[in-house]
């Protein structure tokens, strides 16, 4: 299996991860003079809604006592995900999660599939991750990943500029671990070579910007900023000691729908690796197009195959079609997504953080679907939860019913990361 090979070679297995990366983590951090245990922020978007009866803990009538009124709703701590087909994989993490009900998308003009770009916006021009990333000093201010997105939907924005998403885990691996298995002298030479080219490109961009109008110059300045970031990262990489040495030889096609599961797992694993090694503290992952219309899940069994030999049946098997029907296959497909999130949490929990605790303890992961039900496509009552308390800043173990937009949640996460958003009120009931 290519996927297990990938994991092994990239040292992504839990044991290998914590063993191999700790020295690197410590030395990198020392080099940067960091003292506090850093907090990490992860944002994940997934498409096509849920079926209420498979998702909300109070779908089981009478199963929940609401204990406390919050400033804007009611909260319960005695809920369970057992028996809820789509969300059940999160049951082991119930105490680490806040699940929201009643959150409606703010500021949207069009609902359903068109709404992804609005999900994480904290200001008119930037998404939460980019807002938080501004003050980061890690080699990568942020990682912005996706799997098989084709269209304009669901983008990350940095001051109005659309941020390009990294779709290819192989390319991401190269970016994270430049240098490979070179000896120190060769590594230094390669670094100096790259640096001299970046320096040249940066100077040319500076001159180029001088002859442009304001709007064009802004684009060139953005390019220049990217070049400067790459230069800083090169400066920070003093050696390549301890880096995984190479990529797996047997590649899978990251653009083929039948590789979707391998690509998702690889991207999530690389996020763990990047967070653990302190290459970045902020990461986003946007999964599939807003409508997932081409996505099938053949790995779930023969009934789920995309190409059944009958094109008609194959299309009917798409994630999007099943979502519209809210049928059992929709439930199984969403359960698969959720089980991948659970696996991500398991790895964060299994990774010791250099400053104490686990990676999970010092992080918060916000997971958001951009529509409520697969059949209705509405943008009210969205399936949203977060996992992890960001180093004790946030409350967990709650099922929170309220009538709010997502803004209060985004604002709370921004504050948890130490970068409050001015003009946005955090949802007070999320404070630990």
């Amino acid at each position: 299996m290519t996927v297990s090979r990938f994991s092994r070679r990239a040292l992504l297995g839990t044991a290998g991860l914590s063993l191999s990366l700790l020295p690197l983590l410590a030395s990198d951090r020392e080099a940067r003079g960091a003292v506090e245990t850093p907090k990490r922020l992860v944002l994940i978007a997934w498409p096509n809604g849920v079926r209420s009866a498979d998702w909300w803990p109070d779908a089981k009538v009478g199963s929940i006592d609401y204990e406390a009124a919050t400033n804007s709703g009611v909260t319960a701590t005695n809920f369970s995900f057992n028996g809820l087909r789509m969300i059940e994989p999160l049951e082991p993490y119930r105490q680490d999660i806040v699940l929201f009900q009643g959150v409606s998308l703010a500021n949207h003009v069009e609902g359903g599939h068109e709404s992804q770009p609005e999900m994480f916006k904290v200001t008119g021009n930037s998404t939460l991750d980019q807002h938080v990333a501004k003050d980061q000093t890690t080699p990568f201010k942020t990682l912005n990943l996706s799997v098989q997105k084709h269209d304009d939907r669901g983008h990350i924005f940095n001051n109005g500029q659309r941020v390009t998403l990294e779709q290819d885990p192989y390319a991401l691996f190269e970016r994270l671990f430049q240098g490979g298995a070179l000896d120190q002298a060769a590594f230094e030479r390669k670094r100096a070579t790259k640096k001299s080219v970046l320096d040249y490109v940066g100077r040319q961009l500076e001159g180029f910007g001088q002859i442009l109008g304001a709007q064009d110059r802004q684009r060139v300045d953005y390019h220049l900023t990217s070049i400067r970031e790459l230069e800083k990262r090169l400066d920070a990489s003093k050696s390549n000691t301890g880096r995984p040495d190479s990529l797996p030889e047997a590649r899978f096609d990251v653009k083929d729908v039948s590789s979707f599961n391998k690509t998702v797992r690889a991207q999530l694993d690389l996020m763990v690796l990047a967070l653990a090694s302190d290459a970045t503290r902020v990461a986003t992952l946007l999964l599939a197009d807003g409508d997932g219309s081409n996505l099938a899940m053949p790995w779930l069994g023969p009934d789920f195959a995309l190409n059944t030999g009958d094109v008609y049946l194959g299309i009917q098997n798409s994630h999007h079609t099943h979502a519209h029907r809210e049928d059992k296959m929709h439930a199984e497909m969403q359960r698969w997504f959720v089980s991948e999130f659970a696996e991500f949490f398991r790895k964060l929990k299994a990774t010791d953080d250099a400053g104490g605790g686990t990676l999970f303890d010092n992080s918060v992961t916000l997971v958001m679907n951009n529509m409520n039900t697969g059949g209705g496509h509405g943008t009210n009552n969205l399936p949203i939860f977060y996992a992890g308390n960001a180093g004790g800043y946030l409350t967990t173990g709650r099922y929170l019913k309220l009538h709010e937009s997502q803004n209060g949640i985004l604002a709370a996460l921004a504050s948890a990361m130490g970068t409050p958003v001015s003009g946005m009120n955090e949802l007070a009931s999320l404070r630990a």
């Binding site: 990568f140 084709h150 940095n158 001299s196 040249y200 953005y222 390019h223 081409n294 519209h324």
Partner: protein, 568 residues
């Protein structure tokens, strides 16, 4: 139209006056497009004299491009090569025998609906760096003399590198390099040799990699100074810019040697020059891909290639467009030609028998059911909800993309159509949805245009019943323009679209959007009139739209934005 400041207005009128008189060649070079303050490199007199030379030749011939009095070109926003353009360009620049897989991120549709390269974030910058390093390594691997065009051994190293930077730079930057650019690159090479102690091969690779990441290469901006770019001034593209715009529009790649030669020889200065070169480029097979790109943006067809059905449906679209071009390239045949390209994946959807294998085969399936792009799987299957048709999406493409109709913004909270029910046809379901008071305005137009295609399900299969009810594909639409369509089925609608004056004018707008990378504005009125006239004069030949657009005011002039100033 926003007013000019008096001085700029005067400048504008002077420019037009000079251009139309075709006199005062010496001034014209400064006003209309040559690089003011151009610094010529030693030994590059031939190349650097090109823009000046061509301007004076144009003046002498009296046929420099003119801007119709009272009209104004819009701005031309800065563009960077798309990933496809990048791959084509490096293939041509480095004379690669096969296509180069750049691994650059896919591009998204811009405001005009066609692919535009996005801002260069870190992922893009690293991707461009990695591609440049791979290309440079491969080029050096073939031997330095072949790459450099001279032998860099011993004492001749410096002069050989100088010669290479000058000649390769002229092609890579699509204009002659100025002194400072030459000096920067030569200094970079010397630094690599002395400070970094790189081998000659590695230093050349570094040099090449740097040039392939330089903004002068990546951005389509063949100018070296901003001396003539005062705010709001009307500026004609200089010949190097024109050559580049031509080749990137028609080939999605850099100019070939003949086009560079035309620039350097002063033979790309007048509208007839531009027309001649456009026709030459259009006759090349590479231009077919540009027309496929036009059709993809125009009909909003996705270019995803991640499964067999998408690959087959996209492949059919491309093959179909090329077959239409070879058969004369008329707009109406794009909409009505009964030719299909079918393989084993598409055959069951088209009800075509006896087709095996993944190769697309040209065939006529059933002229009553299949006639042109709007009855192909790519269009029908894209505008669907899974296996069910989506009449509103289909109608919206016809109205917005084929008729260039403008809709008011979608009201907030329009509820989606109800769920599918046994015994209730899709048309009935959507008709109920459109009774919503807030939705009536749009749906009066969109729905009937979409219902015309109810004879095709969400996969594009022909059907005569839907949920047990006979399909009703009839409709009656009056456009805001007053144009009226009445039809019993898709065939009748498509025939009327193929002859519609609004659809023909829209074709001209689409070509302009592709060519400029932006949506049209009031500034483009004269260009659109020219395009529509040329289209009609050629009996609606799509290629003539391209010939016409490259001599249009909007393409050959632009309203300048002064350094640091905002768009007027």
């Amino acid at each position: 139209m926003s007013g000019y400041f008096p001085s700029q207005r005067a400048f504008f009128e002077l420019a037009v006056c000079l251009a139309s008189l075709g006199a005062l060649a010496g001034c014209q070079g400064d006003l209309l497009g040559s690089d003011g303050g151009h610094q010529s490199a030693p030994g590059s007199s031939g190349a650097s004299g090109a823009s000046g030379g061509s301007a004076s030749q144009a003046g002498a011939a009296g046929t420099a491009p003119t801007l119709p009095i009272g009209s104004s070109p819009g701005p031309q926003p800065l563009r960077r090569m798309t990933s496809i353009e990048y791959e084509n360009t490096v293939r041509d620049l480095l004379h690669l025998n096969e296509s180069f897989a750049s691994g650059l991120p896919a591009d998204a549709r811009g405001e005009g609906g066609y692919l535009l390269a996005g801002p260069v974030g870190e992922v893009d910058a690293e991707g461009l760096g990695s591609a440049a390093e791979r290309l440079a390594g491969a080029a050096v691997g073939k031997g330095l003399p072949a790459l450099l065009g001279c032998s860099p051994e011993g004492a001749s190293e410096t002069s050989c590198i100088h010669q290479f930077v000058q000649s390769f730079g002229r092609r890579a930057f699509r204009r002659p390099l100025i002194d400072k650019e030459l000096a920067d690159l030569e200094a970079l090479f010397q630094m690599a040799r002395s400070t970094l102690q790189l081998s000659r091969e590695d230093a050349v690779a570094l040099l090449l990699s740097a040039m392939l990441q330089a903004p002068q290469f990546l951005y389509l901006w063949e100018r070296t100074s901003a001396d003539d770019l005062s705010q709001g001034a009307v500026v004609a593209l200089n010949p190097n810019e024109l050559a580049s715009r031509l080749s990137y529009l028609l080939w999605r790649s850099m100019p070939d040697q003949a086009l560079f030669d035309a620039v350097d020889g002063g033979r790309l200065a007048t509208p007839p020059d531009v027309t001649r070169e456009a026709r030459r480029l259009l006759a090349d097979p590479r231009a077919e891909d540009a027309l496929v790109a036009l059709v993809r943006g125009w009909f909003r067809l996705p270019s995803r290639m991640d499964d067999d059905l998408s690959r087959s449906a996209n492949g059919e679209t491309a093959a179909f467009v090329k077959s239409v071009l070879r058969a004369g390239g008329s707009f109406s045949s794009l909409l009505t030609s009964p030719t299909n390209f079918v393989n084993q994946t598409l055959a069951p959807l088209y009800g075509a028998n006896g087709v095996t294998g993944p190769e697309l085969r040209e065939m006529t399936i059933n002229a009553e059911q299949r006639f042109g792009l709007l009855t192909q799987v790519s269009f029908l299957g894209t505008n669907a909800d899974g296996a069910q048709s989506h009449p509103v999406k289909r109608g919206a493409i016809v109205f917005k993309q084929l008729l260039c109709g403008e809709l008011p913004a979608v009201p907030a909270n329009v509820p989606p159509p109800g769920p599918q029910q046994a015994g209730v046809s899709n048309r009935t379901r959507f008709a109920a949805h459109s009774q919503n008071a807030c939705a009536v305005g749009c749906h009066r137009i969109l729905d009937p245009l979409g219902f015309a295609f109810e004879s095709y399900d969400g996969l594009g299969r022909f059907r005569s019943t839907d949920a047990g009810q006979p399909v009703d594909a009839s409709g009656d639409v009056e456009l805001p323009s007053g144009e009226h369509f009445t039809f019993q089925n898709a065939g009748e609608l498509v025939s009327q679209l193929a002859q519609s004056s609004q659809a023909r004018d829209c074709a001209a707008r689409q070509v302009l959007r592709l060519a400029l990378g932006r949506k049209e504005s009031a500034d483009d009125a004269a260009s659109l009139t020219q395009l529509s006239g040329a289209f009609a004069g050629s009996n609606y030949d799509l290629r003539e739209l391209f010939v016409s657009v490259v001599t249009s005011p909007s393409f050959t002039f632009r309203t300048a934005v002064a350094p640091g100033a905002s768009l007027p």
